[in-house]
């Protein structure tokens, strides 16, 4: 009797967990579709499991690693923009990019001053500069 109650409860629990995850996935899909419709920025179409591609100089490679860890979740894995803007063909100075990384943009982008050293920022700038024009 006790065992069957536990087994029944286990089945219901597994169903509830699956329903919760499924519900969250559906909710995420609806939100993502809404974001894609309302945003002027193009969401990344590259799958999340995609590996870094072309070989590049050491600084650019380091910049890409840093970019993937700190920036890609907003700017997209290919820097084409997602939550944040497209970073290809930036018409601003290196100094401006460095300042944006270290100071952030109020209400839009956090400051990365504590997270990244000057060398890291140089690598990030090198990577952003290496991106082909859109």
């Amino acid at each position: 009797m006790k065992l069957s109650r536990d087994t029944g409860a286990l089945g219901a629990a597994a169903l509830a967990a699956a329903a919760a995850l499924g519900g969250a996935a559906v909710f995420a899909g609806v939100l993502r579709a809404h974001a894609a419709r309302t945003s002027h920025q193009r969401p990344s179409t590259e799958p999340w499991w995609a590996c870094p591609s072309s070989p590049s100089p050491a600084l650019v490679a380091r910049g890409r690693t840093l970019f993937l860890n700190s920036c890609a979740h907003c700017h997209g894995i290919d820097a084409l923009g997602d939550e944040g803007p497209d970073l290809h063909n930036l018409q601003v100075s290196d100094r401006y990019i460095a300042r944006t990384i270290t100071q952030g943009i109020k209400g839009e982008m956090p400051s990365f001053a504590k997270k990244h050293s000057a060398a890291d920022i140089s690598a990030l700038i090198a990577y952003v500069r290496s991106l082909p024009p859109g």
């Binding site: 919760a20 993937l68 979740h73 939550e83």
Partner: protein, 140 residues
């Protein structure tokens, strides 16, 4: 309404599942070890409430997180690591909560033993989720 409200709400509610799932697992482990004592039932009762409250917090965390990222359920870089632990933790917490509600305050000892393994696994996954979430915002 500013989109930052979801980021702030996410930051506020994520601490509930982190703290309460760990508390719940610890309380139930204490109840399991002190099974012969009268206090065991109360420890399990507290453990169950802590788990349910933590799961409610995790639902709030998931909803605010999805709204914050506008449906980004996996992401890249550190966000991906955050989600690698977040989704299994969320599923496990919901499943364990439903099981605790249906199984009563003090389930059988064998079932409770299995539950404790899952509860500590969930607590670990939630803690790892919190760690990568912290890395996302604070870094090192």
């Amino acid at each position: 309404m500013s989109e930052l409200v979801w980021a702030k709400l996410h930051g506020a509610v994520v601490h509930f599942p982190v703290a309460l799932s760990l508390c719940s697992a610890a309380l139930d482990a204490a109840g399991f070890l002190l099974a012969a004592q009268p206090v065991a039932r109360e420890l399990h009762r507290c453990g169950r409430f802590a788990l349910l409250a933590g799961t409610l917090g995790s639902i709030g965390a998931v909803i605010s997180g999805l709204l914050m990222t506008r449906g980004g359920w996996f992401g890249h870089g550190l966000l991906r690591w955050h989600h690698v632990f977040a989704w299994p933790a969320f599923g496990l917490l919901v499943g364990l909560s439903i099981w605790r509600v249906l199984a009563g305050v003090q389930p059988g000892r064998r079932a409770l033993g299995c539950y404790l393994v899952c509860a500590w696994l969930a607590a670990g996954l939630v803690a790892a989720t919190g760690y990568w979430g912290g890395e996302l915002f604070l870094g090192s």
